[in-house]
Amino acid sequence: MSDYNFAYLDEQTKRMIRRAILKGLAIPGYQVPFASREMPMPYGWGTGGVQVSAAVLTPDDTFKVIDQGADDTTNAVSIRRFFQKTAGIAVTEATADASVIQTRHRIPEQVLRSDQIIVYQVPIPEPLRFLEPSEVETRKMHSLEEYGLMHVKLYEDISQHGDIATAYAYPVKVEGRYVMDPSPIPKFDNPKLEMAGIQLFGAGREQRIYAIPPYTKVVSLDFEDYPFQPTKADHACDLCAATDSYLDELIVDDEGSRMFMCSDTDYCSTRRKQGHNGAQGVPYAEDAA
């Protein structure tokens, strides 16, 4: 373990990242530029999240990593191993036991507490990017609070499709000021963005960090007559019978039959351990054997 500094990054770099995090917390939803480092994993694979995690982790922390809600997806495994190797910290798959959770594309189903930090991996931090490709322009739009373009886009969606055609990375307004990209979480997760935990967002390639402090007001953009609706597949989990969790859809045979299961693997297995059993699930003990 002497090969690396604790959590890989040198202390100077961590200090620089912590400054950006503190600034982000002080100005909720504002994208703080930071001198993102080249990490030993590719840009676009969570380097922003990894740098933020490295800056907030302490030796006493218990770390959880999820990708698509699951602890055992390959990139989640890879990032978890990275910190096991470079920080020697405890890791867990149980949401409740984790003090720091790094995530890609989901917020855990279980409500987070005030002593927990969730770190999001962000590919494109700029919510206005696909309306205006220039960073110079979008930064100007944020500083002038000029968000008309976004509302026009949502309106055009409705006139073309009859609905707001954004299903993930659904834009939010933070504490009545900055429009923010919540990272590509499904809009089902948007209501959870108002939480007790500290939320940190890291975009490595784009060199941006932003944050939502605990109990901050986060509103998903909508119209009075087209209110925001968090949606999920209209099924129960086929493994644990949960009706309140976000579901993955699987194709299980050549005829294209589908099954649905929780994307949050910890939530699903916890429920199964408690004895909940879905239409296609086997009781938990049997499965483990």
Partner: protein, 362 residues
């Protein structure tokens, strides 16, 4: 009954083991040594050093070996290593006038002090496969000529003396370090050049080529292209003078482009500049052309809307490590986002079909 897919950890370990085996290839064939790569694939090593922003031929050769010859992967290995290195201080700017030139050509003057030196170039080789190389690589020794002593003056300095070329005053400020501060726009020229010199060769080549074909055309003459070793010096405050800490090979390209000037100021040629680690001549020339195209604002030219004039477009998309990472990340699972789109499109289709049915019924 369905058991959820597990086993990411084992899949990763097995994939790594297989990769290591594939990297080695057929074990009945001798293994490449790092020294062989360094000596015999020197131009690949040069590219990795240039785009990896780290001058270390041995490490670059190792990276190429580890990356199975994938140069972008090798550059990535070098970049990731580079970020972990401590910084003691900065060197003095290198003085390319004092370069020991292996190659030095000018396309603007038939002869000039220092002369035209072709050096080890592919330029006038006929691109015929040399099947002798397949058998053995023995080469006859090249004839040895006389070297000229002393500094080789820059061709530009002769134009400068006549004030035919815009002067480039020495900047006072130490430019920001692209790898230590986030890129913010507009960027200074020094910062742009930092970015261009580590940019992807293919991208910069394409950008430069586009300016030649009319997208912000500004015809460039290669006033001078020089390749050779320069000394690197460092100021030691305790000693009060600077000492040589090593020698690096660089390629420098200076172009002469068309004029600036106005009614009150006589016209002058303008400059483009390229400086790249190693023997990397295609990159250095490309860099000079893109540098020139990006200077339109400062030189009072029109924005022609050409890609090579767009600083944000060029600087944000020229880094192959950023680009390849983001491009390849779409291999990662996106079940969750795709699921949300599936639900959305099903809902939209349902609504549309209901509307169509209602209209048909009326």
């Amino acid at each position: 009954m369905y058991v959820a897919v597990k086993g990411g950890e084992r899949a990763i370990d097995n994939a790594h083991a297989w990769l290591a085996e594939e990297r080695r290839g057929d074990t009945s064939v001798n293994e490449l040594s790092v020294a062989q790569i360094r000596e015999q694939l020197a131009l690949a090593v040069n590219r990795v050093m240039a785009e990896g922003s780290l001058y270390d031929p041995d490490l670059a050769a190792l990276a190429i070996k580890q990356a199975r010859g994938d140069l972008i992967e090798a550059i990535f290995l070098i970049r990731a290593y580079r970020t972990t290195l401590p910084r003691f201080c900065g060197s003095n700017p290198i003085q390319t006038e004092g370069m020991k030139c292996d190659r030095r050509v000018s396309a603007t003057f038939k002869d000039a002090p220092g002369g035209q030196v072709l050096g080890p170039t592919f330029d006038y080789t006929h691109r015929l496969l040399d099947f002798k190389l397949a058998a053995d690589g023995e080469v006859a020794e090249a004839p040895i000529g006389n070297t000229t002593e002393g500094p080789t003056p820059h061709i530009m300095s002769f134009l400068d003396r006549e004030e035919l070329i815009q002067s480039e005053p020495i900047g006072e400020e130490t430019p920001a370090d692209l790898t230590r501060t986030p890129l913010e726009l507009p960027a200074s020229r020094a910062l742009r050049l930092q970015s261009l010199t580590r940019a992807d060769e293919g991208f910069i080549l394409g950008m430069a080529y586009s300016t030649q074909r009319g997208y912000a055309r500004n015809h460039a003459f290669v006033a001078e292209l020089r390749i050779g070793a320069v000394v690197v010096e460092m100021n030691i405050p305790e000693l009060g003078f600077s000492i040589e800490i090593g020698e690096i090979t660089v390629t420098e390209c200076e172009t002469v482009n068309q004029f600036t000037g106005s009614k009150t100021e006589p016209p002058q040629f303008t400059r483009g500049y390229g400086l790249v680690f190693g023997m990397t001549e295609r990159k250095a020339i490309s860099m000079a052309l893109v540098d020139r195209a990006l200077r339109w604002k400062e030189l009072g030219e029109d924005d022609l809307g050409a890609p090579a004039q767009d600083e944000e477009f060029v600087l944000y998309h020229s880094d192959n490590i950023q680009a390849t990472g983001f491009l390849e990340h779409i291999k990662l699972p996106h079940y969750v986002d795709f699921q949300s789109e599936l639900e959305l499109i099903r809902k939209l289709r349902r609504e549309a079909q209901t509307n169509i049915a209602q209209e048909a019924a009326q």
